[in-house]
Symmetry: C2
Subunit: 363 residues, 2 copies
């Protein structure tokens, strides 16, 4: 196994948003230095570490960046694979190509999951009106037509409730390769945030329960209100996925908990995850530190939860209410330093802690 | 009351050591920007925010720094008062002159404490052999001769066990104005880390128990093993001190718990405090965020402890053991990014969490 990147070493982070910012802060807590590479000017992470502005296909800028860091990681899964291919001969890149290739394409993702023995909602690939008709036949209604690539936070998705919605749905996606997914009538949405180390060891935080609205995460409750057996199954699925991808770093695995108890994988994110932000206050080693431990080859930290927590995202102008939010008992307020509060933009989050429940609550 | 410095505002920090570094990281979590001003090149805080290198008496550099920030605070109490006097007309400086003036001079500190009704060990001022003889008469033996100014972490102190030690002790201090302090035969050392807001509100963390070696903090245990009445008295003393100084920000108040139950104040530090580092993991709002809330005019946060904790400093080459330290269950490892591990230098700390004790343990 490669030598670890120890204290004093430098971690390069692809992407400069709030996840990169929180990774850079975790690096500083651990005595590591951080640098981000991002296409935009003044990224949020640039407040807490040096930032290089560069395009994803600028080989010279990427090489110069690689020369200043000891390992490269990323804060979002849509970094082009070609970017990784430029960097990989120059510096270790963790997680690697496979985790991103699978996560960047909803069809590859579903096929990987099923091949690994992880169940999903029914799905079928869609290229045009003919394949959409066949997909509707196979998947049933209601269903969601999603672009295979570059969708996030509910973007690039159209819901179909009748077959008559098909033409408009196809038009809305503008002919991009797509996937039709059946709507899973879930009882609750769960996620598992877990890390896999360079040595293959896996540590998972307790499964949590999530509420999305309009495709955007609103609230995470830790732990999820599921019994111990369900929690263990959820963690086992995450372990299967991380090992199957030879993933290094943190990954977020979103699951649907079905009325019959089954767990269906919804999607995976090969990076620190919004549903893991609660670990900043409720765990001795949070997801950002854990991710850095993994990509730097450190021993993974203890994921034990020492408090229960509820995390709520602050979207758009909700963060303007910071004075009231800051005054709430037991609340930790995080703001991401973003200038413009566009509607729906993630501007910060609030985590409220509660005494640790003795055991997982029974469903 | 002045308008708060809200998200997007900039906090200037005088001093760039590990406390400034942790303050700057707390600022980033809160959506504030930070800048440090420090006399040395490459201060630890410079990894996480812009750093201005300047002397404490460089009025032009200080004015330029003041022009880039919305409020100034400090990470160490020996910032010259003349520096504050340059800054104060230009930008709010919190805490203010009075807190520093008292904390910079051990004699002023003791006199302030006694005048506020807070007991201390016996003491007497020392200028020369004659006043030392008189002081020994008044204070008794054993005693410690300390410089009035600029002592920290056990520096500038000599212990006297017999009157015959007097000439060497005086010589060791090189004629600096000094104070002779009686050695308090304490049962334990306690401290209270508390914050006072711009509105005068006070929030105290649970009193903690400290172990020093060679004048340097080794370990803090939260909470202290004292009964509720003692803890309440300790907090009340801290409140008296913070209010008496019209202090704004966090303050560390070190106390001796005596065999008869009395609490004697040892010293005060008008800043975030090494004995408050455990709050980073064990409280929703840690001492660094709390300090910034105070100096920025935000509502103070909830200081409730949701886990018990033990914090150990890593001195000198102890931090070289980071791989083993990182692997310990329940341990959060903090490293300060300092290059040179001089003997006794504070290089990092480790906090271990335990489930929250239901109530304070009874002595």
């Amino acid at each position: 196994m490669a030598e670890p990147v120890g204290p004093g070493g430098t971690v390069g982070i692809l992407g400069g948003g709030q996840l990169g910012r929180m990774l850079a802060m975790a690096a500083a807590r651990m005595g590591l230095k951080a640098r981000v590479y991002a296409p935009e000017a003044d990224p949020p992470a640039g407040d807490v570490c040096p930032a290089t502005r560069g395009a994803w296909d600028d080989a010279a800028a990427l090489a110069a960046f690689a020369a200043t860091v000891d390992v490269v990681t990323l804060e979002f899964e849509n970094v082009p694979l070609a970017t990784l291919d430029i960097l990989a001969p120059l510096v270790p890149v963790r997680p690697g190509r496979q985790s991103l290739a699978v996560a960047q394409d909803r069809l590859s993702e579903k096929r990987f999951l099923n091949a690994a023995g992880v169940r999903t909602a029914p799905y079928a690939p869609v290229e045009d009106a003919g394949t959409l008709a066949a997909a509707l036949e196979a998947v049933g209604l209601p269903a969601i037509l999603k672009t295979r690539r570059l969708g996030y936070d509910g973007k690039g998705q159209v819901r179909l409730t009748t077959a008559a919605d098909a033409p408009d749905a196809l038009a809305a996606l503008g002919g991009q390769p797509a996937i039709l997914e059946g709507v899973a009538p879930f009882v609750r949405e769960l996620s598992v945030v877990a890390a896999r180390g360079l040595d293959g060891a896996i540590r998972a935080y307790d499964p949590v329960e999530n509420v999305h609205r309009g495709g955007v995460l609103r609230r995470t409750t830790a732990p999820a209100a599921v019994d111990a057996e369900t929690a263990a199954r959820a963690v086992a699925l995450a372990e299967t996925i991380l090992t199957g991808l030879d993933h290094v770093g943190v990954m977020g695995v979103e699951l649907f908990h079905m009325p019959d108890g089954a767990l269906l994988a919804n999607e995976i994110a090969p990076r620190v995850h919004n549903t893991g932000h609660w670990t900043l206050e409720a765990c001795a080693v949070d997801q950002f530190a854990q991710h850095l431990r993994a990509v730097c080859g450190w021993p993974l930290g203890d994921p034990a939860r020492h408090a229960d927590a509820t995390m709520e995202n602050l979207l758009g102008d909700e963060a303007d209410d910071w004075r009231r939010l800051a005054a709430a008992p037991g609340a930790a307020l995080h703001l991401y330093g973003k200038g413009e509060a566009r509607p729906g933009r993630k501007m910060g989050h609030v985590t409220r802690l509660r005494p640790r429940s003795r055991a997982l609550r029974v469903d």
